[in-house]
Subunit: 501 residues, 2 copies
């Protein structure tokens, strides 16, 4: 039992260890103090009849308030050795030590009290009923005073450690770059902070009370529970937290309300919270403030990133619209590029850059005259030369930027008509001299053209598309990326279905 | 003198208050204890000759370790009243109280020790030299033990409070959205954390050692000092922090090294740091970690925002390039729009949205056939009708987005050819029915066209431009924004000079 928890049941007795080799001394002491009370608490005695036994008890029982310590036992200075051992080896500075000696000559009061870190010195003869009583009273009071401060120190220490955990947890969250990582990171941190096993983060979807549809979207969860299984009680608790904008504990379920300035607030569900301590509740509050800020940052970031992605897609659309191509071409291409980049093991950052840059591959067509770009029939050799300028024009438009996305877009615009066997344009680059981004875009571009109807052709069935891709792999296209596409053809078909056109 | 600082000079004596109405008792006690030492510290005596005097001394001196307290003084229970008052009214739980009585019958030991929160009870007769010595020893030891824990508690408390300040400071920083606010916020927080008056935040510009030019750029500062004035010493300290990537204190100047993942590290200079305590140093370290993360977030945000702005400008360029217009047109327009929006009192957010959206105003021209868009001569009425479709096409391209910038761009594309008097196209909107963004863009567009050469006209001198703007104000253009532009014509001319074309 720790000091901290021993204080909780207020009437637990004070533990006193009697160390004396004469059993009579034990009996008399117990009897004399039998009706003793301090702050409403009685006494509980432990007994040791030698120095060795005393050490055993002291090593085991950490919350002994007071030791009455005989000096002469198995050795002439056994008691003194126990006192030294307690303070130095056991590092116990709290338990009060009252030395009791029957042979004062053996351990003179002044020397002993200077040399040993004891708290009182009594000759057994002077310990009448009153003196024993007041000595015990004074010693226990001193112990109580120290422990009161010690407990306050432990509260501060545990608060401080909690704050350090909160800071570490918040640091972790502030480093998250997207909502998904943020949400699962948040759960991990809360669960670690409160030492729980089940938790879930929900986002409020919007007002859909009338439809009866769930209003909560699961952002992340730890442990295998489904909030809908918990039925009306949990839903009521969620609705309550949401409308009153407060966090609340009901039974063993804590529902935390995390506001954020965008209005899309989040609810945290913690199961198995038997009892949140006051410190934990305060830490959770401090943490929640940080979470709200981190959440705002994530959403702001996401807003800017989404705007950027949409802008690029619309830029792609604008270009495609001049060629009267189907609207979703650049959206599908971006997704196919993402798929191939991911499967080929590119980093997340590179995959994102490629996906965002790909829709700009044909930007150079902006300068291609209508007469060439929109000609219904076959191009003359001269017209074809004009058409083939669009990669170089694209490079000119996008060149010279410091931004990773624009740099990627420039190389893609310039090289997406190069072919693996060197027969492409404008530079006639070959194999790995073509930038991987451009090789991926070429595969995605051909795949999308084959799968969809164009002014000059019908849409092909997927089997025929795969067959054709196998044929051109190693000639027109990089065989590695073609292989990856065919291995993941189901995902590619899904992309086609999601963005038809 | 506080408890905390009294511990620093290790040989300060233990303060003992002697309370007794008999001067002899004072003298004898002093004499008896004159050679007393505990942990190498002697004793310092305070004297009080009545209960009232004792209270005065105790109220004034907060670090008295021990009180020898007589019972019977001005009243029969003066000493007991002092003991009660100390614990209850003064709320002093630390000072040890040894009651000394000459008339034990007046205050029976057992009753007194139960009723009063005292630590020892002695009859004056039993206080021989040895007993006085051991009693003092035991009492001071108890005081020492409590104060040791109390001091540890205070360290934890002060660390905890420091962490709370760090958390508040970090929260503040994480809410900053741009580098400038971040930098000055950082300084304010550090200065508040460490209670300083001068500080400065520098960014490493890059390797320019050879040119002799300063390698440090001032991001923010508090107090009026210039780091260059401090000459070679400070510069050496900066260089040292930078190359060794560590924070260091030299004299009264602290140079903090704040790494961040972008490589553009930051140096913090704090002047007047006489001595940073261990706790402050630890707090600064905790804070620095948060700062590095917040800094990364700011830079990431800035990167995304800058990419977005550049993308839009390039989209604008692409469109303008089809009409063979001068390259910097959209850049200048964006700046003129920013100027007018700011001067007209639009919020910072709205001003930024307008500035980012303006370059897309002519996006609909992408669909205008070459034959019309690039026709050298005057358009026929039929061709003019085709030309006038570009605002509607622009709306179609940009319509339906949830993003503020794209929504603004859509309304600008649609309405930027409307005129204040209702004579514009495509809807013939009038006055304040035209969106303010579109009215501002119209002014900026006309201004830029007048100031620069086009295929059909020369560039006009600024006087003639202003004269023309005055003429069309209230007819073609919103007179309010024209007035603002003319009031700020110097700034507009500066914009023209910065982006010539």
């Amino acid at each position: 039992m720790s000091f901290l928890s021993s204080a909780a049941p207020k009437l637990a007795p004070w533990k006193i260890l009697l160390v004396d080799d004469e059993p009579d001394v034990h009996d008399i002491t117990k009897l004399t103090l039998s009706r003793f009370r301090l702050d409403g608490r009685g006494l509980a005695f432990q007994h040791a009849y030698s120095g060795a036994e005393a050490k055993e008890v002291l090593a085991r029982e950490k919350d002994i308030a007071l030791v009455f310590l005989d000096v002469v036992m198995e050795k002439e200075d056994s008691g003194l050795e126990v006192a030294r051992w307690m303070r130095q080896d056991l590092d116990n500075q709290f338990t009060r030590i009252v030395l009791r000696t029957g042979q004062p000559g053996q351990a003179p009061e002044e020397r002993v009290i200077v040399d040993y870190d004891i708290n009182d010195y009594k000759e057994k003869t002077e310990l009448d009923r009153t003196k024993l009583f007041t000595t015990t009273f004074a010693a226990l009071r001193a112990y109580r005073d120290i422990m009161k401060v010690e407990q306050a120190r432990r509260v501060q220490l545990s608060y401080r450690e909690g704050l350090e955990r909160v800071i570490a947890a918040s640091s972790h969250l502030f480093q998250q770059r997207n909502l998904k990582d943020f949400a699962s990171g948040l759960l991990q941190q809360v669960v670690a902070l409160l030492r729980l096993e089940q938790s879930m983060l929900l986002r409020i979807k919007g007002a859909s009370v009338i439809t009866g549809e769930s209003q909560y979207e699961v952002l992340a969860q730890i442990g295998d529970f489904n909030y809908q299984e918990f039925g009306p009680e949990l839903i009521a608790q969620l609705d309550d937290a949401r409308s009153n904008r407060i966090s609340k504990l009901c039974g063993d379920t804590f529902v935390g309300y995390f506001p954020n300035s965008s209005g899309k607030s989040t609810l945290l569900v913690l199961k198995g919270v038997e009892e949140i301590s006051e410190i934990d509740a305060q830490l959770l509050e401090v943490f929640s403030k940080g979470v709200a800020i981190a959440f705002d940052n994530i959403l702001l970031n996401q807003e800017i990133t989404d705007t950027q992605a949409e802008l690029i897609l619309r830029l792609g659309d604008v270009v495609e619209s001049r060629s009267h191509e189907a609207g979703n071409h650049v959206r599908r291409m971006a997704q196919i590029c993402h798929l191939l980049a991911h499967e080929s093991g590119l980093s997340e950052d590179e995959t994102a850059v490629l996906m965002h840059a790909a829709p700009m591959h044909d930007v150079g067509k902006i300068a291609t005259p209508d007469a060439v770009l929109l000609k219904p029939g076959k191009l003359t050799p001269e017209e074809w030369e004009i058409m083939k300028q669009h990669p170089t024009v694209g490079l000119q438009i996008l060149d010279g930027s410091q931004r990773p996305i624009l740099r990627a877009a420039a190389v893609i615009a310039h090289q997406h008509h190069e072919k693996w066997d060197g027969s492409g344009y404008p530079q006639g680059l070959k194999g790995e001299n073509i930038h991987p981004y451009a090789r991926i875009v070429a595969v995605a571009d051909v795949f999308d053209a084959l799968c969809h109807a164009r002014c000059y052709k019908e849409a092909w069935p997927i089997d025929k598309v795969v067959e054709h891709l196998r044929e051109v792999a190693g000639h027109h296209l990089d065989p590695h990326y073609v292989k990856l596409l065919i291995q993941n053809i189901d995902k590619a078909v899904e992309i086609n279905e999601r963005w038809p056109g």
